[in-house]
Point group: C2
Chain length 412, copies 2
Amino acid sequence: MSKKNIIVAQSGGPTVAINASLAGVIRQAMESDTYETVYGSINGILGILHNNMIDLSAMAREDDRFLHRLETTPAMFLGSCRYKLPHYLDDSSSYVYIFKQFKELNIGAFFYIGGNDSMDTVWKLSEYGKSIGSDVRIIGIPKTIDNDLCETDHTPGFGSAAKYIASSILEIAHDTFIYAVKSVTIVEIMGRDAGWLTAASALARNEYNTAPHLIYLPEVPFHTEDFLLDVKRLLFERNNVIVAVSEGIRDIDGNYISASETTVDTFGHSQLSGAGKTLEHLVKEKLGVKVRSIEVNVLQRCAAHLASQTDLFESVALGRKAVTLSEEGITASMVIMDRISNDPYTIEYKHAEIKNIANEAKAVPTEWINDAGNDVTKEMIDYLLPLIQGESDVEYKNGLPVYANVSHLSHS
Amino acid sequence: MSKKNIIVAQSGGPTVAINASLAGVIRQAMESDTYETVYGSINGILGILHNNMIDLSAMAREDDRFLHRLETTPAMFLGSCRYKLPHYLDDSSSYVYIFKQFKELNIGAFFYIGGNDSMDTVWKLSEYGKSIGSDVRIIGIPKTIDNDLCETDHTPGFGSAAKYIASSILEIAHDTFIYAVKSVTIVEIMGRDAGWLTAASALARNEYNTAPHLIYLPEVPFHTEDFLLDVKRLLFERNNVIVAVSEGIRDIDGNYISASETTVDTFGHSQLSGAGKTLEHLVKEKLGVKVRSIEVNVLQRCAAHLASQTDLFESVALGRKAVTLSEEGITASMVIMDRISNDPYTIEYKHAEIKNIANEAKAVPTEWINDAGNDVTKEMIDYLLPLIQGESDVEYKNGLPVYANVSHLSHS
């Protein structure tokens, strides 16, 4: 039987582990007897539609450091897209073109690395493929710093983001503890609907650091009065109160805790300010204490220099697993991780039907949030701790991390 | 001759290298024949006034990992203060008490690690000491991420902050390049009066990354129209434009580029928004393109996990140098670094009279800014590059950096 080729693409928002899964796919395909060329589709599914693809297996053969460097490079080496396929019953034109490409390039399997929306694409392509009797395997590989994909114990990219958040909170605590004056520091962390990443701030606690002193997740309604009482009580006990909040915290009616602000200067523009800034205003006004809000910026999803080794290792393994599953004839699926035990931390790599995953989201279980709704429980810590273990062995040159050359992306 | 003791204190804002200088002082004093006990004054000069001091030499003897850990710990192990001494001719009471403490504790030298304000304290204590004929040596050890202290080639803490900024810009570039749509990203970097740290963003450029595409420093008046034309021109050439701006950029009349905003919700509060947010509004309004502003938060001064090895090495050396200078009878001085050459990078550790340093600030020379006022020159790159070399060997445990236990600070 002659060898087939594969296409791999990436989609959604960046993580530091999504290229590790890409490297896993390339490694496994190049080692397999089933596959030959590994095509990378630029900017997600759009690369197939616009005929914009690169030969990843050739790149790996030409530079033997390429795959290792790819494993430690943040964001999407292949670029991303936010393109949502219409259902093929409404408009099949994209599907017809994609499967024509599959045929012309002798494709045996297509791998899509992404989050919820990408899994929707995997599901739709699988459905269409089935309807035309295609034998191209369609497999999703999860990634998201939000950790909100169903069926899998956790998602690639989350462990590294959790490690970044915990380290940052610890470093912010050192920064905050230096003054012997009362102060409140509010750290706003990504997570519109799920509080997993904000929960990871609890990992910063150690023998001398009790911060964050309060943790608020979107899974529990946020009560302004309770928050102010919590902060007030803590300010009696100590000088510096550090609060971790999800960007997505909402009040009992489901309204985001955010303030709409109007600039009054000549560039007048109305904009929404985040939960952190809103709580900063509130503390300043109601408690009159020194207060600062910190919006952890995009580095929480792209600071590859602080990636979790466990996260990168698992991401590579999932990429490899996706390829072997396709060789076994599996399709319309996403590779997943099943946690066998916490101690020793043991993961099994499996797969789940894509129809159970696409467009579903996994929230933090309320049992893992304390009764007061301002902290997480020991179960959450036990769940999180294995995911941040180990450091990335990113290469440095001239004082800076060396990442994979992405000059094929977006320069014009 | 019986041994004397020393007191060391820290003041001003955090850096990741200020504890390395502290460790240098402790190491050198413990190795010397002149000194015995190393007292650490908690919260700067206030620790002497409030009799709040710890025995650092005892801590170093009790735990042989203490000094190494101290060298890689961010912010101030001894805490900080913003206390400004009155001139002794106006009010000598603090001086009388401080020198009484020096006498009671058999102090031979006092070392103050800090920035401009701290050097003002060093100068005032030196003047008072001279006026009463004290033989206590008073020596300042510089630190500031702003790099704006005079007489020294650069300041401890700056190289690490520069490394953090350059790495962050590179990671933000990877994060930004993934979408094939036009976008502008504005990164606001600390530096109210001096643009050194913002200039360091230029180090992020490499074989595939041309970001930041524009760099604006406070040393050059900011022209809104020129900025918009620059961005517009670049958007013709490429998809993603990344701009680095100092928080302190000002217009030709010296007014900060910032907008005063009013919240219109129930927590109504007027506040000043920064340069980054202001330019974000401007680009959105005038160019109608996708735009995001990122305020690099306090991690630029406290992310010790990404410290520059060169910076930490030099900071220890300056701490040691201060102690040996005091043994030689030097007082009323600050230890400094003199750059002998760029290639090979060679530094000599010297000292300068404190009266030439206190209350002066060093701006970026205009020759190191390009004519258009939107970038830096090769001379700046050559100056910056040696300062970010090498990585900190910070210890990790359970997935997080291990820093020195600061439970003696600010807990109540």
